[in-house]
Amino acid sequence: MKNSRKRSVLLFLLVSFFLCGVVFLSFELCINSSNWALKPFNEHLALDSLANAGKIFDRNSVILAQSVNSKRIYNEDEQIRKALLHTVGDENFNISTSLQSKFRDQLFGYNFFMGIDSPEFLKKRRDIHINIDSKLCKIALSKLSGYKGTAVMYNYKTGELLCMVSTPTYDIKNPPDLKNKNADNDGIFLNKALSSSYTPGSVFKIITAICALENMPDAANKKFTCNGAEIINGQRITCMGCHGNINLRDGLRFSCNIVLGNFAVALGKKNMQNTTASLGFGKSLNIDFVNTEPSVYDLSADAKDALAWSGIGQDKVLLNPIHMLTIVGSIANSGISVTPKLIKEISGESTHNKLNFKQEESKRYMSNEIADSLKEMMLYTAKNSPISSLFSGSDVCAKTGTAEVGSGKKPHAWISGFSKNEKTPVAFVVVVEHSGFGGEYAAPVAAAMLNHLQN
């Protein structure tokens, strides 16, 4: 009988395992409850999922969404509704990164304590104030003029995200019929600023330049000769013009493929990989609980050939627009990158008790000196290019890009840059898909946004 007692320890272990599992389950349920409960297929929400939810305001207290008489009502301006669709979101969780999906528990007033059937007095509905300027978004949307793409702008000193527009978009009042598949509606539920990455083309030359300045003591003076075309490491690279023997600064100004391609090869695979990794490639940024699509700098096994192409942002390089925004932001901000912040505050309906977010630390991407010299290069590039006429001020530092995407499609137009002006410390990135030259299609969008801010 003594043995029975001893041997029954196995049963004791089984019971302990079960009870530990139950504790784990309870824990998981507590942590994820609002996420799990507020799923679109929850029948308890079928009648009034957002019918009595909180309001969403932009930075100028313009109401973007509110609930009146058990109905969700959005801004009365159709263009603003369209421009902010991906930020505010729909009611059916189609746009998963939007506020109405991610913060539905705050808007709905769900609390795990009493579950979904909380009595009214226990529901704490909250309003969300965001940093976005709805007018700026409206301008960006109109300037994108029907092309697919994205435009983002933020304050590189404070991190306030001022503009985030993604196209294609639709009017939430008249949702399109998505049953018939239409190429125009591809990616309509995707916030391209956060959840996509593009071939960067020439804007990536900024990153190659950062790598060169970091790893080559004589980078500023080193010269390469451009004859319009050259075979670098067995890969034929062509250039738009025949720029002669020029240095890095002029290479950026003329966006010379051959100079930058040569720089990449001279730097080598390891340096390029180290720099891109330290600039946050391969990692997601966390923007108010939304993880962005990571940028990719992936050199395949036969890297020798690809290295030259990667230096000018072609081949397998992919860049997330918000990530690029933080990189140009860090150049403007003496090398320190501030993570963009969408949400200004979340307040209770009556008590205005603020919900503080743990602000992600700002991160140093490069040294002060490198940032300064790049700032100068980008200013030089912008001043000596046709796009300078688009911007009203003379303090814009920018680099355009035209990313070849192959398969007979038109290239993506890019611009990334910032304003040096103390009054408007903003950085911007615009991508216009399958349009044409960066200076022609992307720059006007950025210029319109910046000019609106400066006036």
Binding site: N3, L10, L19, G21, W36, F113, G115, I116
Partner: protein
């Protein structure tokens, strides 16, 4: 008139309900009533207003009552579980020696504390005789109804009682001498030693036992069920008022099906039937078996009742088979306790039971029709049975053994063969959940019998290898694992059930949304394979945890009594039964909530499923049998 009303309705809609408390509302109502008199507003108008206000008051009343019940239920549940298990552990028999053996040569007293004692040289023996002439496992001294017995378990030198070598179990009386190797032991009563004798801490001072009122416990269980039933009625009432937007007291009272019979009866009749069954059962066991303990039965009724009322909140007719199964289960519980009372008979019956189980499996394999991917149902006219549930009982029965038989027949061969056959049959039926349950039952039973860790490791590695082979040759089984931990990404296909289960559990929160209010019941297998999430949804996480804890404690109770019971037969059987209940709870709770892949096993006692309920009550009988009070008429 109509326009006035629509105005009032409109007003009340836009106004937030929390602005006015019930109290204010009532005062408001009185003022209005007085005003109506003073200003001599036409009589009918004030009556209308009275009904309107009354309707509002009623709505507040329903809301408040529901809220209070939701908060109170976990507290009551905690009280029940706490009282029940305190009573169980308090009434444990103390470690007092039953008799003494006096060693004639060494002149020392050896206390005999257990009902079955192994005698031998090995350290694991209950009575250790350090003497090279004694075999490692020499003999077994045990007590049956007729008195004390001793049997030789294939020892080298044999056992002699009063100088006569014994061949079979031999009765012992006070004063008899037993010769084991070089030791001569005399049987003594416990009073026969003098007071200053040291008895090695085997006795402790008898604690003052608080007598616990078993009726009160059952009464608490009834109150819990009653509140659940009332809650389900109030939920229906509230839903009807809300959905049809009825604001007037007159119209509410006009809802004939709610206030006059039908729904009210429908909601409460499940409770009434459980109430009657439980008290009938209570008095039957009191009168016929004279048993005083009723804690395990109470907890069983508590759990079964919760399941029944949740099912019954959808309509009383849905509980008919489940209620019938409960009655059969209670009967099986009593029958089994009676059956295994006689250990000699039980030991002989094991072969019969094993044969019946094998035949049942074969019949199952031949006649069963495929239903929801597994072939474990037999349809006999209107009745559908799941034979594998009943084989669980046989399995526990076959696995158990008394100590003297254990010591003589040391190999596990037959039992391993039997278990392997059961598990193989379950695989052929594609009932992988049950196969897992049987396997864990086998592990515990074989370890309880042999104590050999090698067997455990061997069978575990065999199982893992078998699983790999099956996954390799039957890839469709691996598909079950494909959505594991990503159910929300597959919420429209493979992860349909589990994603709903998680969503609705989260909707329930800590206190639940009320009995009968749940949505998960409408999902396939919502009250059987997804019963635990349904409980979280309707009764809340607190009560769900409480239920899990009480299931765990039922199993743990088997361990607590493993040393105190009257035979290793009971301790092995109760631990195996506990293991089956526990492994089934694990698979159900974790399977339905995506911690494990979904296997489709029922939650013991709670899930809808007749065969399952009957077999769980039968398994509870084995645990009850290990409580030494069960067969004692003199206790209390």
């Amino acid at each position: 008139m109509l326009s006035i009303f629509s105005k009032i309705e409109g007003y009340s809609k836009s106004e937030k309900p929390e602005c006015t408390s019930v109290h204010e509302d009532f005062e408001d109502f009185l003022v209005d009533f007085k005003f109506a008199k003073i200003l001599s507003i036409p009589y009918k108008k004030s009556i209308d207003k009275f009904f309107y206000k009354g309707g509002r008051l009623l709505r507040y009343l329903v809301e408040t009552l529901l809220f209070v019940i939701r908060l109170f239920l976990p507290f009551l549940g905690f009280l029940i579980v706490f009282k029940c298990f305190r009573s169980l552990t308090n009434n444990k028999r103390e470690k007092v020696p039953l008799i003494y053996l006096r060693n004639k040569i060494l002149k020392e007293f050896i206390p005999v504390t257990f009902w079955e004692n192994s005698i031998g040289r090995s350290k694991s023996s209950d009575i250790i005789l350090k003497d090279p002439t004694v075999s490692r496992d020499h003999a077994v001294l045990f007590r049956r109804e007729k008195g004390w017995l001793i049997t030789d378990t294939d020892s080298h030198s044999g056992v002699m009682v009063n100088d006569q070598k014994i061949e079979k179990p031999t009765s012992l009386y006070l004063g008899d001498t037993v010769t084991i190797g070089g030791n001569v032991l005399i049987i003594k009563r416990k009073e026969s030693f003098n007071d200053n004798f040291d008895i090695n801490s085997t006795t402790s001072k008898p604690k003052k036992k608080r007598k616990f009122n078993q009726k009160f416990l059952l009464f608490l269980v009834n109150i819990f069920h009653f509140l659940m039933a009332i809650e389900s009625y109030l939920c229906v009432l509230r839903k009807t008022i809300k959905n049809e937007n009825i604001l007037d007291l007159k119209n509410i009272l006009d809802l004939k099906n709610i206030f006059h019979g039908e729904i009210f009866l429908d909601c409460l009749s499940t409770f009434f039937v459980i109430f009657i069954i439980s008290w009938l059962f209570f008095f039957t066991t009191r009168i016929f078996t004279k048993r005083q303990s009723f804690e395990l039965e109470s907890i069983g009724i508590f759990l079964s009742g919760i399941g029944l009322i949740i099912v019954g909140s959808e309509g009383f007719q849905k509980t008919y088979t489940q209620l019938a199964s409960l009655c059969i289960g209670l009967f099986a519980f009593c029958f089994l306790i009676w059956l295994i009372k006689d250990l000699e008979r039980s030991m002989k019956l094991r072969i019969v039971v094993a044969i019946i189980a094998i035949v049942l499996f074969v019949i199952n394999l031949i006649f069963a029709k495929e239903y929801n991917g597994s072939k474990n149902w037999i349809f006999l006219g209107p009745i559908s049975l799941q034979p594998s549930e009943f084989i669980k009982i046989a399995f526990v029965f076959v696995g158990a053994s008394t100590l003297d038989k254990l010591q003589t027949a040391k190999n596990l061969g037959y039992f391993i063969a039997f278990s392997a056959f059961c598990i193989a049959c379950l695989f052929l039926m594609r009932d992988f959940g049950s196969a897992c349950v049987f396997f864990i039952g086998f592990l515990i039973a074989s370890f309880m019998r042999s104590g050999s860790i090698r067997t455990i490791i061997l069978s575990c590695s065999a199982a893992i290898m078998g699983a790999f082979i099956i996954l390799k040759f039957k890839p469709y089984i691996a598909e079950r694992f494909s959505v594991w931990r990503h159910v929300f990404e597959n919420s429209q296909d493979a992860g349909y059930q589990q994603s709903r289960a998680l969503t609705y559990s989260a909707s329930g929160g800590v206190f639940g949304i009320g009995t009968g209010n749940g949505e998960l019941k409408n999902i396939f297998a919502g009250t059987s394979d997804l019963m635990f999430p349904t409980i979280i949804e309707e009764l809340g996480l607190l009560i769900a945890i409480l239920i899990a804890v009480s299931l765990g404690l039922i199993a743990l109770f088997a361990r607590i009594y493993s040393e105190r019971c009257r035979s290793t037969f009971y301790s092995i059987a109760s631990c195996t039964a506990g293991a089956i209940i526990m492994s089934q709870s694990c698979l159900h709770v974790f399977g339905s909530t995506d911690i494990f892949p979904l296997t489709g096993v029922t939650l013991p006692f709670l899930s809808l499923g007749g065969s399952s309920l009957i077999s769980m009550w039968a398994l509870l009988a084995f645990i009850k049998a290990s409580d030494d009070r069960t067969y004692s008429l003199l206790f209390n």
